[in-house]
């Protein structure tokens, strides 16, 4: 029989097959969908990290007060809300630290920042927004964010702000455009720029920020964002910064009370963490796929048994062993392929949801917007499902082809 006819009959077998075949297909769908979803997440993650490494400047180092491995959660940060009052014991970064850093040859730019939450009003609506005060002459050169509309802050700016894309679009009832006025803690600011990110942040001149955030003391900073002169000397520069600050702050390596982030190290740690998570999830997905494959094999065995008499009839009508083999193998491949295609579709949907399910916060949350269904993973999933179909169908199809017509015809 011609291959096209075999294909037609195999498709007919799938279409006319019982619920069982569809359940088998479901097994493959689940396996392929999870593989696709996880691989897409992994790919998205890779893109994310790569772009972070290249854009976000591997030459930017952040110095915060307090010693913690996760620099983001150092005690130097004030998470807003309540009026936490700076006590004498509180560890802070101040003017002397800034002076010390200015004296380092490794550093080309220093952006001292403070940040906190502030009440923001716009056309009668209010909300709590994170505001960050920056050195307006340094920030445009050191930030990794890009302006979508308007301009960056400049050295002469005082009562103007740059807002994140999310603040502009969705935060208040009406979108905030350029030159609109926002009221932050009773002071009015004009919007001069909108950032090209989903950020919910307002960037403003440092001096204005001190006035807006009550609990901040003049010349006390939350962090220094520092640009290293030569990216290749990052390690040395970090070592120099640490040495210098330890000296001015009168601390040793043991009771160090500040942290210097290493962007490369962080990216590496994150990449490592995410790749092992992806590997773990892929392993689970692979198990799902394996179970699906066993399901196909099981269905094919049952199907051959069920169709024994039909096989006998086909042979009586002149079907060769090869015809029967091709027919059943194609049937199995089709089950795999249909499962694979539906699986890719669901995997694509899932890749949008999964990071959200894993929690919006942190790395996973960021992935929600960045998972990528690559052509590579689609091709891989299709080939895997076809291979599964072929392998699981091979033995049953061979058995079917070897049936003796007399015995098969007699089978009830």
């Amino acid at each position: 029989m011609r291959l096209s006819k075999c294909f037609k009959h195999a498709l007919n077998m799938v279409v006319h097959s019982q619920l069982r075949s569809w359940l088998t297909i479901l097994g493959i769908v689940i396996g392929v969908a999870s593989v696709i979803a996880i691989m897409s997440m992994g790919a998205g993650l890779e893109d994310d990290i790569t772009s972070r490494l290249s854009n976000s400047g591997a030459d930017i180092v952040t110095i915060t007060a307090g010693y913690s491995r996760a620099f983001d959660f150092g005690p130097g940060r004030d998470w807003g809300g309540g009026g936490s009052v700076a006590t004498e014991e509180e560890i802070v970064l101040d003017r002397s630290d800034l002076q010390a850093l200015r004296g380092l040859a490794d550093i080309s730019l220093i952006n001292p920042t403070i940040s906190g939450n502030a009440e923001v009003y716009y056309l009668g609506k209010k909300g709590s927004v994170r505001v960050t005060g920056v050195d307006t002459s340094v920030w445009p050169q050191i930030t990794t964010e890009e302006i979508a509309e308007g301009r960056m802050l400049g050295p002469a700016d005082s009562n103007v702000i740059v807002i994140g894309g999310s603040i502009a679009d969705g935060f208040f009832e009406k979108p905030v455009g350029l030159n609109q006025m926002l009221t932050i803690e009773d002071r009015a600011f004009r919007v001069v720029g909108i950032l090209d990110t989903n950020s919910m942040e307002i960037v403003m001149p440092l001096m204005a920020t001190y006035q807006v955030l009550d609990d901040k003391e003049m010349d006390v900073y939350d962090s220094f964002v520092v640009k290293i002169k030569n990216e290749d000397d990052l390690e040395t520069a970090i070592a120099n910064i640490e040495e210098k600050l330890m000296l001015t702050r009168h601390v040793t390596a043991k009771d160090k009370d500040f942290s210097v982030s290493n962007p490369k190290e962080q990216a590496e740690i994150r990449a490592e963490m995410m790749s092992s998570m992806t590997a773990f999830l892929t392993a689970i997905a692979a198990v799902a796929l394996l179970v699906g494959a066993v399901g196909v094999a099981n269905t094919m065995f049952t199907s051959v048994l069920e169709k024994t008499k039909e096989i006998g009839i086909m042979k009586a009508l002149g079907a060769k062993n090869r015809d029967i083999l091709t027919l059943f193998l194609l049937n199995s491949v089709l089950i795999g392929l249909i499962g694979g295609l539906i699986g890719i579709f669901f995997g694509y949907l899932l890749s949008g949801f999964l990071p959200g399910l894993m929690g919006q916060g942190g790395v996973a949350g960021r992935l929600a917007s960045s998972s990528v269904v690559t052509l590579q993973s689609v091709i891989l999933a299709i080939s895997i499902s076809v291979v599964i179909g072929t392998l699981s169908g091979a033995i049953p199809a061979y058995q079917a082809s070897k049936l003796k017509p007399v015995d098969a015809l007699r089978y009830e």
């Binding site: 039909e310 086909m314 042979k315 009586a316 002149g318 079907a319 060769k320 062993n321 017509p405 007399v406």
Partner: protein, 257 residues
């Protein structure tokens, strides 16, 4: 009844006819657990081209085994079988299959249509196996279903047809690849007497008008009266081979459908 594209041969003179199937001292033994069952013991038989033979016998006489061998569905334990002069005893299964597909058309007691295929697709199936040209095959399948009076049921699945209709579909299917031999195994066994008679008359017409060699296996002596020649089996041996002098002949053109 529409004629098939075959030359009509003279019916009553077989002196010049060639043997289309020959069995030479054929034995068939089955192993049933520890017991050996001798289904056929030394059967020799010549079936002439263009003959209508009824193989009769009680159940267990070996007639089904004989049918399987004659239809190339099985090979003998001992002895030789010739189909159109070719010794098929040692043919590979695939060679046997393609020979069978071209030469023998089967009609079964339980119709044995493929349940997922429509009447039309069932008739088409042997043609697809023989890799016929697509449009020719479809044309032929349609013609054959018309021939058996089922032109309105082309797209019915077997489950949507009566027993008689299914058997007529299976007759159309047996004719699809234009085989020389039609092998019918209790073709009316599952049908009521009226539809049964329609079917047997159809078989006789195939023999009479279209020159097919018809071999019918039955235990029903009434049915056997439609055949031209009787071969009677008992306990795996042929006990009687003779022309049927009381043959019931369907009048030419007197078809009901």
């Amino acid at each position: 009844m529409k004629k098939l594209n075959l030359t009509v041969k003279p019916r009553n003179d077989f002196n010049g006819a060639k043997s289309i199937i020959s069995l030479r001292n054929v034995y068939k033994t089955y192993q049933m657990g520890e017991v050996k069952v001798h289904a056929l013991r030394g059967v020799s038989l010549d079936i002439m081209q263009g003959d209508f033979v009824a193989i009769i016998g009680a159940s267990g006489s070996g007639k089904s085994t004989l049918m399987n061998l004659v239809g190339c569905l099985d090979i003998p334990t001992k002895g030789e079988i010739f189909l159109k002069g070719q010794n098929i005893t040692h043919l590979s299964e695939s060679r046997l299959s393609s020979l069978r597909g071209r030469t023998v058309g089967f009609i079964f007691q339980q119709y044995n249509l493929i349940p997922n295929l429509s009447a039309f697709q069932n008739v088409l199936f042997p043609l697809e196996l023989q890799e016929f040209n697509d449009s020719l095959a479809k044309k032929r399948a349609r013609e054959l279903l018309q021939l058996v009076g089922l032109s309105t049921k082309l797209n019915n699945l077997p489950s949507q047809m009566s027993g008689g209709e299914q058997q007529r579909t299976s007759i159309a299917r047996s004719l699809a690849a234009d085989p020389e031999v039609i092998l019918a195994d209790e073709p009316t066994g599952a049908l009521d007497s009226v539809t049964g008679r329609e079917v047997i008359e159809m078989l006789q017409k195939l023999w009479k008008n279209d020159g097919k060699t018809v071999i019918m296996v039955t235990h029903d002596l009434k049915l056997a009266r439609y055949a031209h020649r009787h071969v009677e089996l008992k306990d795996g041996e042929i006990i009687r081979t003779e022309n049927n002098i009381n043959m019931i002949q369907v009048k030419n053109g007197g078809n009901k459908k």
